[in-house]
């Protein structure tokens, strides 16, 4: 079983501040995905990173995949209240049809 450790569990910041969420594993993933989930809704896929060292930007969100494809980070610049939600990372195993491994989630609260 590939374990994916996500940190921190909870993050409360003021609007305009920056934040970073981490996902770490001792195992290699073929790709890693980040989701945001708002209360009462299903997780929404934000991005998939595939290549070691890859950096993807989605407006104020920056996603990075570690060189060894074992870890990833999500950085939000100038957070806004609309960024509030549960952020989940999920790793895809090397075999094509294996189950994705989910992190425990990071609850982010951005107050005005």
């Amino acid at each position: 079983t590939q374990l994916l450790e996500q940190s921190p569990q909870f993050l409360s910041i003021q609007e305009g501040e920056n934040l970073t969420v981490y996902c770490n594993s001792s195992s290699v993933f073929s790709s890693l995905q980040w989701y945001r989930q708002e209360p009462g809704e299903g997780p929404v896929l934000l991005v998939t990173v595939v290549t070691g060292g890859e950096v993807k930007k989605l407006k104020r969100l920056t996603f990075q995949f570690g060189d060894a494809r074992k870890d990833s980070s999500l950085h939000i610049t100038a957070a806004q209240p609309g960024d509030t939600g549960l952020y989940l990372c999920a790793g895809a195993p090397p075999d094509s049809w294996g189950k994705f491994q989910f992190g425990a989630g990071t609850q982010v609260v951005v107050t005005p």
Partner: protein, 118 residues
């Protein structure tokens, strides 16, 4: 990406009853998954449902409690049987799609069914 719908979106049920949750996908998919999510928590995989074969259950989940049907490549149901308050949770169905043209797998989720058992 896949568009996934679930019914019902929420329900309040009495202890001892059963509820069937439906999941519809807008395209044909080989594998569908059912997850459970406690409030503010991550996702726990209940089972994998493949068309034409019995579902594969994860440790701690059994077919008698969570029977699953997968009659075709776009539809699945999960039944939560003989419910107790401990079954109160969000139930999510999900599918894996292959991105084009990069050919890596991505997982997509339905909007979830919020179940409260009294």
């Amino acid at each position: 990406s896949a568009v996934i719908s679930q019914k019902p979106s929420r329900d309040i049920c009495q202890r001892g009853t059963s509820l069937t949750i439906q999941c519809q996908v807008d395209s044909q998919v080989t594998m569908m998954f059912w997850y459970r999510q406690q409030p503010g928590q991550s996702l726990t995989l209940i089972a994998t449902a493949n068309q034409g074969s019995e579902a594969t259950y994860e440790s701690g989940f059994v077919i008698d409690k969570f029977p699953i049907s997968r009659p075709n490549l776009t539809f699945s149901t999960l039944t939560v049987s003989n419910m107790s308050p401990e079954d109160s949770s969000i139930y999510l169905c999900s599918v894996i799609g292959t991105s084009v043209p990069s050919s890596y797998n991505e997982q997509f989720f339905g909007p979830g069914t919020r179940l409260t058992v009294l």
